[in-house]
């Protein structure tokens, strides 16, 4: 029995062999939503509420790379992440910057998430600076918008979003019903990045909670 299959080993070591962005999109099967069957457009309006004050939708994305810096190599790792995102400077903890189809979020002191609305090459990070990991299939994005978005978010997460400036998104990783989720706040509401296996349960919880405000699933 040979110790190593060199072909496979090379493929695996040189680049993540199964990174979704590495493969021509046309050849790939459709992505399946963990929310299948739950997202049909509809309105839930309690008595006396004429217009929904919450719009809820799932918002699939094309790529999500996690860049983690070694302590002391934050600057270099951040530069690589910023370059991949097409922004001048990597954002500070708790902040996000958007450039075209790319959003760079500082999710932890030593960590960024690079989100691509379109397929996005992984950041070219030197092994001396940090590591890069594909999370593109591990999270599912749900978008909350509408005038009652702050009230709904207050019922989901314990985060003070009062001073949120519309220009730069705020990023926070926080428990939602004891499940770690990453939240990207905006002036209109927030995007929630849910662990894929929990997405269904958390969507249902969000729908149940949002119904009191008048909800539209779009």
């Amino acid at each position: 029995m040979p110790d190593t299959d060199l072909g496979a080993a090379r493929a695996l070591s040189e680049a993540p062999a199964v990174a979704p962005s590495a493969i021509p999109a046309a050849a790939r099967a459709e992505s399946a939503s963990p929310l299948a069957g739950l997202t049909a457009p509809r309105r839930v309006l309690p008595a006396g509420v004429d217009e929904p004050a919450i719009q809820l939708s799932e918002a699939p994305f094309a790529a999500l790379w996690q860049v983690t810096a070694w302590p002391g190599r934050l600057g270099a790792a951040g530069s690589a992440a910023a370059a991949a995102a097409g922004v001048a400077e990597a954002p500070a903890p708790g902040h996000a910057v958007v450039s075209g189809d790319a959003t760079l979020m500082r999710t932890e002191p030593l960590r960024w998430w690079l989100l691509g609305e379109a397929p996005l090459a992984p950041p070219a990070i030197d092994a001396e600076d940090g590591t890069c990991l594909d999370l593109g299939h591990g999270r599912w994005r749900v978008r909350i918008k509408g005038p009652s978005a702050p009230a709904l978010l207050a019922r989901l997460v314990a985060v003070d979003l009062r001073s949120d400036a519309p220009a730069s998104g705020r990023v926070v990783t926080t428990p939602l019903h004891h499940v770690p989720v990453t939240l990207l706040a905006s002036a209109e509401g927030a995007d929630l990045f849910l662990p894929r296996s929990h997405a269904r349960a958390l969507w249902e919880l969000t729908v149940e909670t949002a119904s009191q405000f008048g909800l539209e699933i779009v």
Partner: protein, 1001 residues
């Protein structure tokens, strides 16, 4: 009772009648009423029965301090006992009923207990349950049942709560608790300074004592002042019907907001209540003060209430408590109430224990038409179901607040109002551990120094006079504004001042020649004699006295009775009130619905359910699922009406004879990346991983520091500096935390990153002699031949799926003991991968299999799972001792060789086969030596199955010395609860295809 609606007055809407049902009869109140004011207006009474003696009770207060009018609201699943009538907002169709009585609160057979009162004295339960003879006898058992049935207050619904509740997280600059004059002024001041303000008020109206008041506030009519104050709140978030029930560390405030109880037919989408967890920068407690009653004879009769409550019913609700009122005070307290009643046309007499009340007060009272009797005390109320007269007398001596009285004469009265001082509501600040301090000059406890960020204002600081209270509220707001950097710090806060003419402390009125029934805590039927008895019996600590007498327990937590209770205890012990102290205030301030604490975490949302990417495909095909932690896992895949047993046996045989596919997406998956990843895993696992070639995977076991097994799994080396670790479903979270801890604290010098990728990958195992053939059918590219993908090899490949291809990682790993592959696909393609692989498996004659069949296969093979690795098992116990590296240290390597963990007779892994045909035993059963089936036995069973491979009922588990000591011998497997004993033969756990030819095929 004697109450009625006055012709005018109150802030109720006289044009909006509201009907409600009391004990089956329909009555009418008005919009703006509480249940209590509507009951008073209808002259209803008694409305409740006492807890122990079943004495009739009426409405005693106008707030959450209510100790008398406890009622049951609603019915069916919405039945709610122990609601305090004064805090229940009247809503159309409200149903309320009496409780703790049979057949009704008007005529209750239980009142016989009142005659047996001396048997129900303090410590009744302790003495009864611990002290009397005859315990254990049949008679005792019947007696105990009777007592238990008689105990308790009201009865809750046993049906699930039909309503929903929210948990809300709020943030603000200043949280003002209480919307009386101080709170309104504070909130307006802070709002005007541009701060983000929240104001919470337990009532449905803002204004506290000012609602309906006729006094002048800052030169304006109270109503005008109130409406201007409300308008000044502007953008502040004002929560009505919201009780701040607890103040916690970091000044987190727990608030329950009642959202729909006041709506006759709320929309089902609306939550009934919300627990609001408020995190303010500053807290201002404008919680007011609670009036204290006076203990005199039969002071629990319907019609006896707090003087301030009488005034409140008259002013706010336009309801008089009776037509002949006697009020009693030892200070200035009841004068305003007396004047208010007299002006409303109630024949009012005011007893002031002071011989010479302040002249101005006397003049004002008499001008209002109050008959003032200076130097008089209430001695004993008459009547039973309602007050019918009051014997009054003069004090011969007042010592420590206990008046010896000489009864003089009986006054005609149908209601009695008492005021024995005020207790500032310092409950919330006390929740933070601030000790209450007794102020003899003010006759009350005040809060000690509040913690950083918390301030008290108004009557909660014992301030008197609305203007002073308003000014104090503004002062507290200015201090908060300054602390938040928005203004200059104000000067000193207004100081509370004693009354112009100090009032003697007064808690109880006694007669020298006769014992009166004087209640301190009407809600729990605790009398002043109970407190004295507790002192006599040695319960000298106020906390012990509370528990022995139950004073200050129950739903009002002694808001009115505690001070008198501890004053009487102090007197009985010959010590001062500060020496005696007060019982600890704990949250909640008032009872709150448990549903609100649970929020939406109930039913299907009790915990967040996890589904694998392959779930839906299996569910649609008819799989039956089981819970594995939060996960749903396919248990078995029935065909043609199969039950569990038929299905799993078919599935297990199918894997051994052909092939099958199972969803293994729930396995924990952790990316371990960085130049030191290999070195890190070498320290974590007992066996070596640093030299594992790229493109290979290896089974590893990790120990805890104490040498016991933590978890096992296979780690794949994807690249020089990238491993994919898998761990058991059950321990995935634990292992992740453990690795993060090790890197953060023990070995920060290692350049290793870990991240959970459990949700990134979907995984399926294809197992069985035809597994390779099946897999090859599904491949678009890649090579899974024996040469290209040897045992424990990894390959990248692509699957043909509907609509395209899916990239996968394939590892040749076997849990079943058969030729097997684990195929991992990125999660969004997991369903497509499952469908493609299942079709390929079916084309080879196989099908999907579930957890139960997997259990059969692994038990036959002797592979361990979390059932075996339960935290008490060493490597050797699990039969894995040879895996431990001698060439390197690893976590647990030192402690695993300590005495006790290396003894040869430790229980070790073995197979157990039932000897008699058809005999079965269960997981969790005890393994015993023959003839020794008592005690803890010599081992235990962790898993069982009908084994197609061995043709026997097969168990896996542990026995002292393991198979080496017992091989071929019989043991008895005992299940004492089921009363079953089964003979079984002990065999080595690793005997199915011991040479591994099948999985190496």
């Amino acid at each position: 009772m004697s109450g009625y609606r006055l012709r005018e007055g109150g802030v109720v809407d006289r044009s909006s009648p509201v009907s409600f049902v009391w004990d089956g009869t329909r009555y009418h109140g008005l919009a703006g009423d509480t249940l209590a004011s509507a009951m008073l207006a209808n002259g209803l009474g008694p409305v409740a029965r006492g807890f122990k003696y079943h004495r009739p009770r009426g409405i005693m207060s106008a707030g959450p301090e209510e100790a008398g009018a406890l009622v049951t609201l609603g019915r069916g699943a919405r039945r709610e006992p122990n609601a305090k009538a004064p805090t229940v907002e009247l809503v159309e169709g409200l149903e309320a009923s009496g409780q703790n009585a049979w057949p009704s609160v008007r005529f209750d057979l239980g009142q016989v207990n009142d005659l047996l009162g001396r048997f129900f004295a303090a410590g009744f339960y302790y003495k009864t349950f611990f002290g009397i003879t005859g315990k254990g006898t049949w008679e005792w058992m019947q007696f105990e049942k009777l007592i238990r049935r008689a105990a308790g207050m009201g009865s809750a619904s046993r049906e699930p709560d039909p309503d929903s509740y929210d948990v809300v997280h709020d943030f603000c600059d200043v949280l003002v608790i209480g919307a009386g004059p101080a709170g309104l002024a504070a909130a307006a001041e802070a709002t005007a300074a541009g701060l983000d303000v929240m104001l919470v008020e337990q009532d449905f109206a803002l204004g506290g004592q000012l609602v309906g008041a006729e006094e002048t506030v800052e030169g304006r009519k109270a109503a005008d002042w109130l409406s201007q104050a409300e308008a000044a709140l502007g953008p502040a978030r004002v929560l009505r019907r919201a009780t701040a029930f607890g103040l916690y560390d970091g000044n987190v405030v727990g608030v329950v907001e009642r959202l729909t109880d006041h709506i006759a037919e709320p929309d089902p989408h609306l939550p009934r209540a919300a627990l609001r967890i408020v995190r303010p920068a500053r807290v201002i407690l404008a919680t007011g003060a609670i009036e204290r009653p006076l203990a005199f004879g039969n002071n629990d009769r319907p019609g006896v209430m707090l003087a301030g409550a009488m005034e409140r019913y008259a002013r706010r609700f336009g309801v008089a408590p009776g037509s002949r009122a006697v009020l009693a005070t030892a200070g200035d307290g009841a004068y305003a109430a007396a004047a208010c009643l007299a002006r409303a046309g109630v024949e009012t007499t005011l007893l002031d224990a002071r011989e010479t009340p302040p002249e101005a007060m006397r003049a004002a009272a008499e001008a209002a038409g109050v008959a003032l009797m200076a130097g008089y005390l209430p001695v004993e109320a008459h009547g039973r179901a309602a007050t019918a007269g009051l014997t009054v007398g003069r004090a011969t001596a007042i010592r420590h607040g206990i008046a010896e009285a000489r009864a003089e004469r009986r006054l005609e009265a149908d209601c009695v109002g008492v005021s024995a001082g005020w207790s500032p509501a310092i409950h919330l600040v006390a929740h933070r551990g601030v000790k209450p301090v007794w102020h003899g000059d003010l006759g009350c406890f005040l809060a000690g120094t509040p913690p950083e960020g918390v301030a008290l204002a108004g009557a909660s600081r014992a301030l008197r006079g609305t203007d002073a209270i308003v000014e104090d509220g503004r002062h507290a707001a200015r201090a908060a504004i300054a602390a938040l950097g928005h203004g200059k710090a104000p000067g000193r806060a207004p100081a509370p001042a004693a009354q112009a003419q100090p009032a003697p402390a007064l808690y109880e009125v006694r007669l020298p020649d006769r014992k009166l029934k004087t209640f301190l805590d009407p809600q729990h039927d605790v009398t002043s004699e109970d407190v004295r008895q507790a002192a006599r019996e040695g319960y000298t600590s106020v906390e012990h006295m509370k528990r022995y007498t139950t004073l200050g327990m129950a739903t009002d937590q002694g808001k009115t009775g505690n001070i008198a209770g501890l004053a009487l205890l102090a007197d009985a012990l010959g010590q001062s009130i500060p020496e005696t102290g007060i019982t600890t205030f704990r949250p909640p301030f008032t009872p709150q619905p448990i549903g609100a604490l649970a929020g939406r975490a109930r039913g299907a949302h009790f915990a967040s359910e996890r589904r694998t990417p392959m779930h839906a495909a299996q569910a649609e095909a008819g799989a039956v699922f089981t819970d594995a932690g939060l996960w749903k896992r396919a248990w078995y895949h029935p065909q043609g009406g199969e039950d569990l047993e038929a299905a799993y046996l078919r599935e297990a045989r199918m894997v051994r004879e052909c092939c099958g596919i199972i969803d293994v997406s729930t396995l924990g998956k952790i990316a371990v990346q960085g130049p030191d990843a290999g070195a890190f895993l070498n320290r974590v696992y007992v066996n070596g991983f640093a030299k594992l070639p790229v493109g290979k995977c290896r089974y590893g076991v990790m120990l805890r520091d104490d040498g016991f097994v933590l978890d096992d799994g296979v780690s794949w080396r994807l690249a020089e500096d990238h491993y994919l670790m898998t761990c058991t479903t059950a321990q995935a979270g634990h292992v992740m935390v453990w690795l993060e801890y090790l890197l953060a604290w023990r070995w920060p010098e290692l350049r290793v990153h870990v991240a959970s990728v459990s949700d990134q990958w979907a995984g399926a195992a294809v197992a069985g002699p035809r597994a390779r053939a099946a897999l090859e059918r599904a491949l678009a590219s890649g090579d899974v031949s024996g040469a290209a993908l040897p045992f424990m090899g990894i390959a990248a490949a692509e699957l043909k799926v509907a609509g395209g291809t899916v990239p996968v990682l394939i590892a040749r790993i076997s849990f079943s003991g058969e030729l097997a592959f684990e195929v991992y696909a990125p999660a969004n393609w997991g369903e497509a991968a499952w469908q493609a692989l299942l079709a390929a498996v079916e084309a080879e004659g196989g099908a999907a299999y579930g957890m139960e069949a997997l259990g059969t296969l692994r038990i036959e093979k002797g592979h361990v799972t979390g059932a075996e690795l339960d935290g008490r098992v060493t490597l050797e116990d699990a039969g894995l001792g040879r895996m431990a590296s001698r060439a390197k240290p690893f976590i647990g390597s030192a402690m695993r060789v300590r005495p006790g963990l290396t003894e040869a007779d430790r229980p070790a892994l073995a197979h157990f086969e039932a000897v008699e045909p058809g005999a079965r035993f269960s997981g969790g059963a005890i393994v015993c030596a023959p003839g020794q089936t008592t005690g803890h036995g010599i081992g235990w069973i962790t898993g069982v199955t009908e084994s197609p491979a061995f043709g026997a009922w097969l168990g896996i588990g542990f026995v002292e010395g393991g198979a080496a000591a017992w091989e071929g011998r019989e043991v008895v497997i005992a299940e004492p609860v089921a009363g079953r004993e089964t003979r079984a033969r002990v065999l080595p756990a690793h005997r199915f295809d011991a040479a591994g030819e099948r999985m190496h095929a």
